[in-house]
């Protein structure tokens, strides 16, 4: 009995101490610090949360990490399931999540400690802190040329010269593709995204003030710089998610790598125990409360590609590169093994839950890409596209090219201008 109390007190101390020590420590000097001003979106996660909720069918969603409803227990539709999905899958990335920040001090999710010396440069966020969250589909990793491997066991390659599998510190291992030119020059994330307004979008023109008139023609004035000045782009097609409350681990034997270190360790252990005849309950944490809840969230893609670039218009009628994201296919199997949601990929009105979102790929190149990368773009133009599954879905915060805008890509005027550059 007494031992139990000691254990509890220890646990509480471990939880609270760092908050007392670090938070106080930071705030004792940084008195004017204002959480909302400093990192409104990083703190509230409102963009990520509300986009996900609205793609899953919740209208006019306007909640934050702090006001996110508790996960529902009785699930009848994908709308009932979304908060559980957010809490236990997406929100493994937030400032106080254990996977991102084991310290319990929100500041240290991004900043490094600078203890007693007043060299504040030491506290500057480093890239390895940023890419804990800003990786894979989410811009960040690609700045350093990182493209995630596939999940199946056979992709743990190459074997390093010392004989080990590649490092999976971020839950997955990577191909290295072409770096961003700024990264090549030694710049880090905060070189551009700096100061108190670091969450605001960075305009290339704030540094590159006078692009030469010769190469930047008027007819391209409504293009984002990165449309021409980026190379590859992570395109992720169809994210299949399954919450399974039954201990059905066997089918995931080759797919234990799920970009989630907790889940990977859990599955590896559960599969080992299953061989010995022990069946463990499927449980994984709510990444906000850190309490283990029933069921595991598995995921898998149709596929991810780096070759495809696809253009859309954003809300300001500027042309941007789109990323296929949030193309959900949702399944849920309850504890009794009843399949409540079976591969739901359509909304109630019959439209597909698939979406593209205008983004700024951080694979910037000095030299612009060739005209053909857009004007002869297979995904946008070619009716003979091999995989008909790459369809042009709904665009979040933007719109698709209209027919006449697509025709413009192949217009006589373009062809003449292009030919002039070649002869």
């Amino acid at each position: 009995m007494f031992k139990k109390y000691i254990k509890m007190i220890k646990y509480i101390l471990i939880l609270i101490l760092p908050i007392l020590i670090y938070a106080n420590e930071c705030l004792s000097c940084h008195k004017n610090y204002n959480a909302n001003k400093h990192f409104s979106n990083h703190y509230s996660m409102k963009n990520a949360i509300n986009i996900t909720r609205s793609t899953w069918g919740i209208k006019d969603s306007n909640v934050t990490l702090q006001t996110l409803p508790k996960a529902k227990k009785n699930i009848h539709s994908k709308e009932d399931l979304v908060d559980d999905f957010l809490r236990r899958k997406c929100l493994s990335c937030h400032l106080q999540s254990k996977t991102v920040n084991p310290t319990n001090n929100s500041c240290l999710a991004c900043h490094n400690t600078h203890k007693n010396n007043l060299d504040s440069k030491k506290a500057t966020p480093t890239m390895n802190k940023c890419i804990k969250c800003h990786k894979n589909e989410y811009i960040g990793g690609e700045y350093m040329g990182l493209f995630p491997h596939d999940y199946d066991k056979s992709y743990r390659s190459p074997i390093t010269p010392k004989g080990y599998y590649p490092n999976k510190s971020a839950g997955i291992d990577y191909h290295h593709l072409a770096n961003d030119v700024h990264y090549e020059k030694g710049m880090s994330c905060i070189s551009c995204h700096n100061g108190m307004n670091f969450e605001k979008k960075v305009d290339c023109k704030s540094c590159h003030k006078n692009p030469s008139k010769k190469n930047h023609k008027d007819f391209h004035s409504n293009l984002s710089c990165n449309v021409c000045h980026s190379s590859w782009n992570i395109s992720s097609y169809e994210l299949n998610v399954l919450r399974d409350d039954t201990p059905n681990y066997k089918q995931w034997k080759r797919l234990t790598v799920q970009e989630d270190i907790y889940l990977e360790n859990f599955l590896t252990k559960a599969l080992k125990l299953q061989k010995k005849g022990i069946l463990v309950d499927p449980k994984m944490p709510d990444y906000i409360t850190n309490i283990l809840e029933d069921g595991l969230w598995y995921s898998g893609w149709r596929y991810r590609r780096w070759e495809n670039n696809f253009l859309v218009y954003d809300q300001n009628n500027k042309v941007k590169i789109a990323k296929p994201m949030f193309q959900y296919r949702i399944s849920y199997k309850d504890k009794a093994g009843v399949v409540i949601l079976d591969d739901i990929h359509k909304n109630k009105d019959g439209s597909k839950i698939e979406a593209f979102i205008p983004k700024a790929p951080h694979t910037i190149t000095k030299k612009a890409k060739s005209c053909e990368m857009c004007h002869e773009n297979k995904i946008m133009l070619d009716n003979t596209l091999i995989d008909k599954n790459i369809v042009k879905g709904k665009v979040i915060k933007g719109r698709l090219f209209l027919k006449e805008e697509l025709d413009k890509l192949q217009s006589k005027k373009y062809k003449l201008e292009r030919a002039k550059t070649l002869f």
């Binding site: 190379s231 590859w232 797919l255 060739s370 003979t384």
Partner: protein, 589 residues
Amino acid sequence: MKIILLTITLIYTIYANDIDKCITCHANTTPIDNFHPYEEFGCASCHGGDKNSLDKQIAHKNMILNPARLENATKSCGKCHKEIINRVSKSIMNNMHGVLDVLRYQFKETKTIEHTKGIEDLKNILTKDQSLADSHFSKLCAACHINQKEEIFKEFGYTSRGGGCVDCHRVNEDKTNTAKDIDILKKFKHPQMSTKIPSKNCLKCHNRSNRIGLSYEGKFESEGYGTPYKKGELTHKLDKSRSYYDLPADIHHQSNKMSCIDCHTEKGVMGDGKSHAHMEDSVDISCVDCHDAKFDKLENQPLASMLIAINNLMPYPSEVAISKRKKSPIYNLQKNDNNITFYRKSDAKALDMTQMSDAPYHTNKDHQRLDCTACHSAWIPSCYGCHEVYFKNGKQYDWIKHKKTKGKWKELRSYLRYESPALAIGYNEKIMPTAPGCQVIMRIYDKNITNEGFHSMAYAAWDPHTTQKQSRTCVDCHFNSTTLGMGSGILDIQKDNNITFMPYYNSKNSGMPFSYPIDSLVSKDGEQFQTFSRTKARGFNKKEVNKIVSAYKCIICHNKWDDKIYNDFTKSKKLFFEKKTSCSKNILK
């Protein structure tokens, strides 16, 4: 025709005189096929034993469970089909030289592709004396073998093979019979045999490596996600470890549900009596055999008459098509007067046969080196990076010795793609689709990792069997870095014809032991980064790359095949530079 009927009757009479007592006990056995009735052939003519005895011990002495295994077949099937058994024994599906010879070359054990040891020789080599290639073959490749022990496979599917003639000719899907299964009290299902071989029999083996069997049916071996999930389970599984997703199937499959044997002839499949080093030497047919067919009178082709008789569903025409490579009859492509008809072998359904047009896109002089597959293939499965790991002290099942022996292999990959087939000069010196085959990156463990690792990066050209009626677009070849063999990246061309290319893949940072991108067969200057296992095959050289890409300058506007500038392209270009064409005045200053 009469001769054939006479021969069959003669065989029947020889065997009919002999009374076979096996069926006294084994009365409940299902028939084999229409051509081998028990009443005429009995059982012992294939299975041996003493057919005159009713005593089980005596009757079953020296019996053969599976007379169709090749070592038994000379005494059983070979009594009548001797010539075929001889051919099959030398064929590439039996001696496995196609795999073995290339493997040894790729593992740098031979300097050229040459016949050394075949699968039979490997049986006598002790495990400790095996070379790396031999070990790899025994542990990973040899499961696919026409004469594999069929009883080790529990279920029919992508992973069950062997049994000699029955590997292909057995058409029922029941589990392989063992001696225990043959209970005289129960109805016994004898393997059913047919010459109308369903494609699924071919797919037992042809679903791996270049995966033509899968591609033909529109299945692309996927990254292994098993998506979409249905009923809470993974779907689209090929077998325990692999999955697929659906892409456009080959037009021959999609429109007409043609099976493999509708095109592939018996000579191409069962061999021509020679021991070949490569599949392409063994294969009989090519696209033009049907689509630009040459015919011969039926009376000159006794084999065709016989095959039509065995098929038993097709009419006898006045002329049949002849294959161009091995001059063997394609008996299901028939001509009467001027009507050409193609018959499906399984049910003799008559299909329309389109002959190749002589439109400019086919007669274009600059395209004479193109194989049909270069333009008409929709996609090719490309598996990049074959990371081989060999554990010297591990143990793994040996598919030749049929037991666990020392040495264990594991294969890992970099990534899979299906996009735009890359092109290269193929084995026949024609331009063909190409994909990695194989990019070996080897690591060897003793107790710890050793320094013995090596890499041997190769591409291979083949017909991906994803034929489409519509060809690729001009731009898809003339201005596409993947097609040109450079890999994914940004291709551009300058005024002075200088080609620039910025590749995406960074092999060195990705931990590879080489610096060129893993998907680059050649550089923009035609430097050959990766090799082929065929002497004549190679990626495009600098001159070819320049020629292909510079044609794009015209293709920007003239992107239709029937554009008149292609009637005489050299002349058109000359006129353009002399400013004698309508567009040149606007473009040239």
